[in-house]
């Protein structure tokens, strides 16, 4: 049996009567870099948040390293049965957020050490070493004593990536990591992400950066109307899209 780092089967998610995910399945093997495309409001963030249970889905199955997450149905919502299981799995899926979501009352160093120390319970000395390693990797070590508000968006997002890496997770989830950035700051973040992909890290990337999706990912998913409209390898998807919707989406994206 193939081991999937992360697998979601037939996910359904609705907000009140609004069906955001109708039936979405994704799977990521070790080393996969999967780009998720789709218009704004197509459910990309919701899909990511269902995989780490920031949102509870209304239906479907979730597996982490082929271990099924146990749910019980409660008022139509799938609520996890085993809280410990959820916390353990979340600590192995690290998320990078569109708005960075850094902890504003902590320095950069404290941001990166926080979860390793208080979630993984590794000792402070090792966490400090980790924090240095990953801040250095994203090229922002010299700002370690600054506070998030003192950094540019691009710098904050690199800290967000270092914070995610410091958990030494099995999979990285990126939710439009460059969408909140001024255009001139986008590249510094994309460069870091390319480096991570080249290291063979497993990544799920929601993005509007078509070049990144085309050049870096080995699989692309196009979400439309709560369903996967088309998926496959990037060469095929970008050069010969089957679906008219994807074609239209790519035309719009290429113009901007």
């Amino acid at each position: 049996m193939t081991e999937y780092t992360l697998q979601a089967k037939n996910l359904k998610k609705r907000f009140a009567s609004h069906e955001v995910l109708k039936d979405v399945s994704i799977k990521a093997k070790k080393g996969d870099v999967i780009s998720i495309l789709g218009a704004s409001g197509s459910g990309k963030s919701t899909l990511l948040k269902c995989t780490n249970l920031l949102q509870y889905p209304n239906g479907g199955e979730l597996y982490f390293h082929n271990e099924q997450i146990k749910f019980k149905l409660k008022n139509g919502l799938m609520v996890p049965v085993d809280n410990k299981q959820v916390l353990r799995i979340r600590s192995k899926l690290s998320m990078v957020f569109q708005q960075f979501n850094l902890w504003t009352h902590m320095t950069i160093l404290e941001n990166v050490m926080e979860a390793p120390v208080h979630v993984l319970k590794i000792n402070k000395k090792d966490a400090l070493e980790r924090a240095h390693t990953y801040l250095d990797k994203v090229g922002i070590l010299e700002k370690k004593d600054a506070y998030p508000a003192q950094l540019s968006g691009g710098q904050q997002q690199r800290v967000g990536i270092a914070r995610a890496l410091a958990m030494e997770p099995d999979i990285l989830l990126f939710d439009e990591p460059t969408s909140a950035l001024d255009p001139e700051l986008v590249n510094e973040v994309l460069l870091v992400m390319r480096k991570l992909a080249n290291e063979g890290r497993t990544m799920l990337v929601v993005t509007h950066e078509m070049n990144f999706a085309k050049e870096v990912s080995n699989y692309v998913i196009f979400l439309h109307n709560g369903l996967i409209e088309e998926e496959g390898n990037p060469q095929k998807l970008f050069n010969h899209p089957n679906s008219a919707k994807l074609n239209q989406f790519l035309n719009v994206m290429n113009k901007s």
Binding site: R88, S94, Q99, N101, W103, T104, A115
Partner: protein, 241 residues
Amino acid sequence: MNFSIVIDNIPLLLDGLWVTLHLISLSLVLGFMLALPLALIRHFKVPVANQLIWGFTYFFRSTPLILQIYLIYYGTGQFSWIRDSWMWVILEKAYLCGLIAFTLNTAAYTTEIFRNALDTMRKNEIEAAIAFGMSTWKAYTRIVIPNSLRRSIPPYSNEVIFLLHSSSIASAITITELTGAARYLYSKYYDPFTPFLAVSLVYLVIVFLLTYIFKLLERRFLSYLSINHESTKKLGDFGNP
């Protein structure tokens, strides 16, 4: 103006100052300790307890402090079951009644200050805490509460100064704090101006020091919170002609 009144009675005034300072610092510490759990109960809307605490803060924030003090000092003496109980040992003592009134009063205001800060915590940061595998308890103790306490510093500094000023009401139930000492000198020498002016200057100096301390705390703990950067923009910062 007769400064010898002040100079001759420095020990009395210092005693008054001492009573003021430990009355308010003790009520602030106790009020703070009460306020944090109460604010969390309000924030989490724990059924029943939330409504009770709402009633408590509503009462203490919408009635005059002097009535609250009278109620605790005189009012409780009306009930024989209180007079006959162990509580009477506490309640008959003016200082303790004042302390209880001030503690409950500041607890009420501080509860609402903290609750407001907790309710307005940026959802982004909680989302990140949960995404990294923190339990709700961890997310609150590590992220939400520390952040909210920092954002409470400016309104809380107002509360501290408010309580300092209110402490002069304690003289109404025979506690000889700073204002009470000045009132005593007035009745003794029939000179209201000198003692009240002297005591005003003392309040002024205390408020000045408190303001300074809170400014330092703000600079140390608050200045870099991005929310604060936004909210402290002056009209001139917008390039308005």
